[in-house]
């Protein structure tokens, strides 16, 4: 099922009656979620990603704009009539019911022609449980389950009525680090197996990058960029997206373009054909540096962290806007720790220029 959001806007009235300050949680969001894909809504807290999810679910009404499932306008429909499955951040499993009862619950609500007999319901419940691999735990209560198991039950409950769209609100945030890795693979697998269009919300860019088909980066209610994870990473449209994606984060410098050359401090570091003379922000991915004898960028070396496969060079530079410049290079490069400085070359496709005012990307030709 394709999901289409048209000019979706949500404005919360201000809590303080005297001040007339409203909060625009989501601002003019237009986006089409292709059928059968896994989409990650990504952004820092308060960026409107959860509000968007809740509007898709029908639990919150948009202030303006429309939502389509396929060709149907569902904007005015209540959640139960939309045919969605929703997994809450803290799962919202009914504490007084067993796993089986929790999974059966949505099916028992069906009315009229959709009504099922007991056998079918039970069969469906076991199918859903098997899919998330909890069919052994059906008679336990939620309090007797681990966080990861509760998560699976919540997914099974959302899947059991074969929703048209599956929505996950911060699905991994309540799990510990090890379980998080495991569960995100699991979500990917379940989504592939069922082929249900799935939208999930997260503030963790790594999580979104690793499993989504498409990610949507949001900031203060406005969509910044939409695309395949790798595309967005390789080609950020503005400084915010560049800074938000990637660990370790991107290195940002104050730079200047003069006569088609990019200057960091005094030294020219890169040809940037087609860019007018101006001051710019320069973003360089940590993997965009190559140590070299004749490196164009000379930085003061402060530390070298060896991490097995890679080496992380920590240095400082007068033009850097971050406290340190961090570059990740292959462990084959031998760095002299005693040396005061390190010389680096740049990989042009890992260097991004941004306008100082709008922070929008300034493109240049990479040859």
């Amino acid at each position: 099922m394709k999901v289409e959001l048209q000019n979706l806007t949500k404005i919360f009235p201000s809590r303080n009656k005297k001040e007339n300050s409203e909060v625009i949680a989501v601002n003019n969001f237009t986006f089409e979620i292709p059928d059968g894909k896994l989409v990650g809504l990504l952004g820092p807290s308060g960026c409107g990603k959860s509000t968007t999810l809740y509007m898709i679910s029908g639990l919150q009404k948009p202030t303006s704009g429309k939502i389509f499932f396929g060709d149907e306008d569902v904007t005015e429909l209540t959640p139960e009539n939309r045919g969605i499955g929703l997994v809450f951040q803290n799962y919202a499993l009914y504490p007084h019911m067993t796993v089986k009862q929790n999974i059966l619950f949505p099916l028992q609500n069906l009315k009229g022609e959709d009504k099922m007999d007991k056998e079918t319901m039970l069969k469906r419940a076991y199918e859903a449980a098997k899919l998330v691999q909890i069919d052994e735990l059906m008679d336990r209560k939620p309090s007797e389950l681990s966080g990861g198991q509760q998560q699976r039950v919540a997914i099974a409950r959302a899947l059991v009525k074969m929703p048209r769209v599956l929505l996950l609100d911060e699905p991994l945030s309540n799990l510990d680090a090890r379980l998080r890795l495991q569960t995100r693979e699991e979500i990917r697998r379940i989504q592939r197996e069922t082929g249900i269009t799935t939208v999930f919300v997260t503030h963790d860019q790594e999580e979104a990058m690793s499993i989504s088909d498409v990610i949507v980066v949001m900031k203060l209610g406005v969509v910044q960029q939409v695309g395949k994870p790798q595309e967005v990473y390789d080609n950020p449209t503005n400084l915010f997206v560049a800074k938000f994606l990637g660990t370790p984060p991107i290195n940002v410098f104050d730079g200047e373009v003069k006569g088609g050359k990019l200057y960091l401090g005094e030294s020219a570091v890169l040809d940037v054909p087609g860019v007018d003379d101006r001051a710019v922000y320069v973003g360089i991915r940590p993997e965009g540096f190559v140590p070299a004898e004749d490196g164009v960028l000379e930085a003061n070396l402060s530390n070298v962290e060896v991490m097995g496969r890679d080496v992380s060079i920590v240095s400082t530079h007068s033009a850097s806007l971050n406290p340190v410049v961090r570059s990740i290079v292959d462990a084959d490069y031998k760095i002299d720790r005693a040396s005061e400085t390190v010389k680096l070359n740049l990989k042009p496709h890992k260097v991004f220029l941004f306008d100082k005012e709008t922070e929008e990307r300034i493109y240049f030709e990479v040859n």
């Binding site: 429909l77 069906l110 469906r124 199918e127 009525k161 074969m162 069922t194």
Partner: protein
């Protein structure tokens, strides 16, 4: 999984219209029910006030008036000048007993709660459990012996007998102790290392932090004095010490059991006014205290 897809193929427009109608009907029913219940709950108060403003003749009408024909405040004059009910005296008695017993009770409660919450001594837990267990016993069981005890002490028909026996409330100690326990123990240890005395610590740290609970206790205790009926009637039902509720129940009814209802309603309104005032201004504290208690007054 099964290929059945229950969510598909709905007539979306129809469903959307339907759910709107259902929503409105449910809302109307909700409000109709709540407002009806609200009127039923408030009606006695309304009836009390309008009856107190009627003459006896108007009150006797076969078809009663919902608004008095004219507002007659004579009943209130009667209440305050009645020889049957010396209202001023009853007010003062009740106020005196209420204030003194609340003040003393607070001191005892705070000290005990502090001891249970912060001090270490042998048998503390056992003692506290024992005290909690006595809360199970109905108060009437104590009253029988207490009646003898105060008689032996020669306290009958004094203010003392109205104040002293009920100074300690295990429930209030329990309430305050729970509140005190939420204050981190490190604060107490730090104060000890700095050489702060217990009393100073209690006064400067614990009491300000537990103030909402202390206010709740104060209000509930005052209301308790205002509403107490059984014990005062047993031990101090003389003209000098009678409390308000006792005075009220028997007033304005003559020997044959005929009651002058409008005047009686005026008296009830007068007695209820302080409670309403407290309610209006301190509702938050009362509700907070009550929601943690199970005991009225």
């Amino acid at each position: 999984m099964s290929d059945l897809n229950v969510m598909q193929n709905r007539d979306m427009k129809k469903v959307s219209a339907q759910q709107k109608v259902v929503k409105i009907i449910v809302k109307i029913m909700l409000y109709a029910f709540l407002i009806t219940m609200g009127i039923i709950v408030l009606f006695p108060f309304y009836w009390m006030i309008i009856s107190s403003l009627k003459t006896m003749d108007e009150y006797r009408l076969a078809i009663p008036t919902l608004i008095p024909q004219y507002f007659d405040f004579r009943n209130y004059v009667d209440v305050f000048t009645s020889k049957d009910l010396i209202l001023g005296r009853l007010f003062l008695n009740t106020l005196y007993v209420g204030v003194v017993s609340t003040a003393l009770s607070l001191v005892i409660t705070v000290l005990s709660a502090f001891a249970f919450a912060r001090l270490e001594f042998k048998g503390k837990d056992a003692l506290f459990a024992l005290l909690l267990a006595t809360m199970m016993i109905p108060g009437e069981l104590f009253t029988i012996t207490n009646y003898q005890t105060v008689n032996t002490f020669g306290w009958m028909k004094t203010y003392t007998v109205l104040i002293v026996p009920f100074l300690v409330s295990i429930f209030y100690i329990y309430l305050l102790k729970q509140n005190f326990m939420q204050v981190p123990n490190e604060l107490y240890l730090a104060a000890k290392v700095d050489g702060t005395s217990d009393i100073k610590y209690l006064w400067k740290v614990m009491i300000p932090l537990a103030l909402p609970t202390i206010i709740s206790i104060t209000i509930l205790k005052m209301m308790g004095s205002w509403n107490s009926y059984m014990w005062p009637r047993l031990v101090a039902n003389d003209d000098a010490h009678r409390l308000i509720t006792n005075g009220l129940r028997t007033a304005f009814t003559d020997a044959s059991g005929v009651t002058d209802i409008p005047v009686q309603m005026a008296a009830v309104a007068v007695v209820s006014t302080p409670l309403f005032l407290v309610f209006i201004f301190l509702r938050k504290y009362i509700m907070k205290g009550v929601s943690r208690s199970g005991i009225k007054g």
